[in-house]
């Protein structure tokens, strides 16, 4: 476990355990995984396929329950937040960047980015204005009204990053954000991602296989036998 001493804890996981069941067989994925993310810090998690990286992000975000252990958002235990209130809290606390972008095909780039804002309760006009600012920030000012299928892979991921920052979250979880991109585009997206989180003071938890990208963050971990090991 590491702590970001300079700016306090924003996200913390203590002794997380998770086992999946496949037929008669138990498949342990995480065992005593602990993590502490400081405000505005950046860290990466690497590991082999199936090592539990995505599962860890799911537990940190509260969309999946750990068998054992505790997740805290700003020192508040996730288990203490009622199930009904959790989506709204998550919308403000966390941003997500996915490997497969997950843009909604019926919405244009601006409305895709604005959607988390509308879910969080922003007025449509305010959400759209903020979405336009974010899209300008990620270099998509000219593609505001483009549908996802009219955007390249790199552009889609940039829109995904803008969407993740829509509610000015305290933590951004990025799960293989460059996994579907070629090397050159991936490099540009990573530079953009790093620059953007630094500008917004957002903590970043980056899951990646790419050693070069992993080295761009402050702290590096690998998942081995269900535990997070500092590199």
């Amino acid at each position: 476990m590491t702590e970001h001493a300079t700016s306090g804890k924003v996200l913390e996981a203590v002794g997380l355990e998770k086992t999946y069941r496949s037929g008669q067989r138990d498949i342990p994925v995480l065992g005593d995984a602990s993590l502490c993310v400081g405000r505005g810090s950046t860290l990466s998690i690497s590991g082999e396929s199936g090592s539990g990286k995505s599962t860890l992000l799911n537990l940190l975000s509260g969309i999946e329950e750990a068998d054992k252990g505790e997740v805290r958002w700003n020192d508040c235990p996730l288990a203490g937040i009622p199930e009904s209130l959790r989506p709204a809290r998550r919308a403000r606390f966390l941003g997500f960047v996915f490997q497969s972008y997950y843009l909604i095909p019926e919405l244009d780039a601006r409305d895709n980015v604005a959607l988390p804002g509308r879910i969080a309760g922003l007025a449509p006009r305010e959400a759209r204005a903020r979405a336009e600012d974010l899209l300008e920030e990620v270099g998509l000012r000219e593609r505001l009204r483009s549908q996802p299928d009219q955007l390249s892979g790199g552009e889609r991921q940039r829109a995904g990053i803008a969407r993740a920052l829509m509610n000015r979250p305290e933590v951004l979880l990025a799960d293989e954000p460059t996994g579907n991109l070629d090397e050159r585009t991936a490099g540009r997206v990573m530079e953009l991602l790093m620059a953007t989180v630094l500008k917004h003071g957002t903590a970043l938890v980056l899951v990646t296989h790419h050693q070069g990208f992993a080295s761009m963050v402050e702290d590096r971990f690998t998942l081995e036998s269900g535990r997070l090991v500092p590199l």
Binding site: I63, R92, E106
Partner: protein, 413 residues
């Protein structure tokens, strides 16, 4: 107005940017509901039209009230008529006598019903409305009106002479008396189209009928027509109390209760049968929405991850069903009203094309297809379609709301 995000997304999924006509699932679902609603509205309006025509014909020929002694002849019919006529709210009063006769022309015997009526200034029976030949002024004690059907049976027309035998005359023949038939000139031909039962085959003056039946000055009843605003049941109750004795005051709805019940039953059955068409459309919506949920599994997972609650996801897909139902109902009602307004040219064109125009006009009177457009009924059909479409979306919506985001995202990755 700030639209809830899930309503906004539901609408955008149904009508995505860049696609002016919306998604194909959406279009087909709306068309399905629209067709079902259109069929229901058209059938119910036509059935209502038939019912309305029947009701109008009953009131036109029988009046709103019938005052009688259970069908037996009674004296003082004229005085009773004047007594009723003096009451406020009475539009017309007609003493009458009715029965059956044997009519003969060129030795062809027919046994039609006969209606003898006192045709005053404000008659209950608007026979002149249905005359296709002759005029009301030519109805005297030695002339009669006959129905168009009877004129065909007897092979007579206006100006022809026919012979009538009443039951009283036939009784006399049985007593070996020499009885000659009464001869009448046909002064008019009437046609009530839909149902000849409301006015039997022969209409004559009350005096003629009293003479044929040996009634002297007695009548079988007094028909009463009321102003439209008068409550017929209340009027009948008051009149019954006033007349007392053996007199029986009955509204037309009571007299024709069985027939009206059959009319209502037919309409209800048609509604019930046609509801299956809407049910098919509703099942189509349920299937289309289920497919959509399967197709959009990862997007539903995404919504949960970025803060969408289960109830919002449930609302999203329920609203889509509601909206499909709403648009389908609107389109269906508009289509039905258009088709109903163009019904005559449509029937005319189809029957002319198939060479059945004459048959339709003669037997079904389709050239004048009646419709009754009831706004409450149409609203009810529309609301039922919207409700069913929303219900049809409930299962897919429930399924979507129960999806576990972690699993949906893991499948994709």
């Amino acid at each position: 107005m700030k639209l809830p995000w899930f309503i906004y997304l539901a609408l955008r999924q149904l009508a995505p940017s860049g696609k002016r006509l919306g998604s194909i699932f959406f279009l087909l679902s709306v068309i399905g509901v629209g067709l079902g609603v259109a069929v229901l509205v058209i059938v119910q309006s036509v059935m209502g039209g038939f019912g309305q025509i029947h009701r109008e014909r009953i009131v036109d020929t029988s009046g709103h009230l019938d005052v009688s002694e259970g069908g037996y002849p009674f004296p003082g019919g004229y005085a009773l008529a004047e007594q009723i006529r003096a009451q406020p709210g009475v539009k017309g009063v007609t003493p009458y006598a009715r029965g059956f006769v044997m009519a003969r022309s060129e030795r062809v015997p027919v046994f039609p019903g006969i209606y003898g009526l006192s045709y005053g200034e404000r008659p209950v029976f608007a026979v002149d409305r249905y005359l296709v030949a002759g005029s009301l002024e030519s109805l005297y004690d030695d002339t009669i009106f006959i129905s168009e059907a009877l004129s065909r049976q007897l092979g007579v027309w206006v100006g022809s002479e026919i012979e009538l035998f009443s039951p009283v005359m036939i009784d006399k023949i049985q007593d070996d008396a020499v009885v000659l038939p009464r001869q009448f000139e046909v002064a008019g031909i009437y046609n009530i189209e839909w149902n000849q039962e409301f006015l039997p085959g022969i209409v004559c003056t009350l005096r003629t009928m009293q003479d044929l039946y040996g009634l002297e000055d007695r009548v079988h009843g007094v028909a009463v027509r009321l102003e439209d605003a008068v409550d017929e049941f209340a009027f009948a109750a008051d009149l019954q109390e006033e007349l007392g004795g053996d007199m029986r005051v009955q509204t037309w709805k009571e007299t024709w209760a069985d027939f009206l019940w059959v009319l209502d039953l037919e309409k209800t059955l048609m509604l019930f049968l046609n509801l299956f068409i809407v049910a098919v459309a509703v099942f189509a919506i349920a299937i289309a929405q289920l497919l959509t949920v399967v197709r959009k599994t990862r997007e539903i997972g995404l919504l949960a991850v970025i803060g969408g609650s289960r109830s919002a996801v449930l609302g999203l897909y329920c609203f889509q069903g509601f909206f499909i139902g709403f648009l389908g109902a609107l389109c269906g009602i508009a289509t039905a009203l258009l088709a109903l307004s163009l019904r005559d040219p449509i029937i005319e064109g189809l029957s002319t094309l198939t060479g059945t125009h004459e048959t339709l006009v003669r037997y079904y009177y389709f050239a004048q297809l009646p419709v009754e457009i009831d706004p409450f009924e149409i609203t009810g059909i529309g609301l039922a379609a919207i409700g069913l479409a929303t219900l049809a979306s409930l299962i897919p919506a429930w399924r979507a709301a129960r999806l576990r985001p972690a699993e949906t995202l893991r499948v994709e990755q």
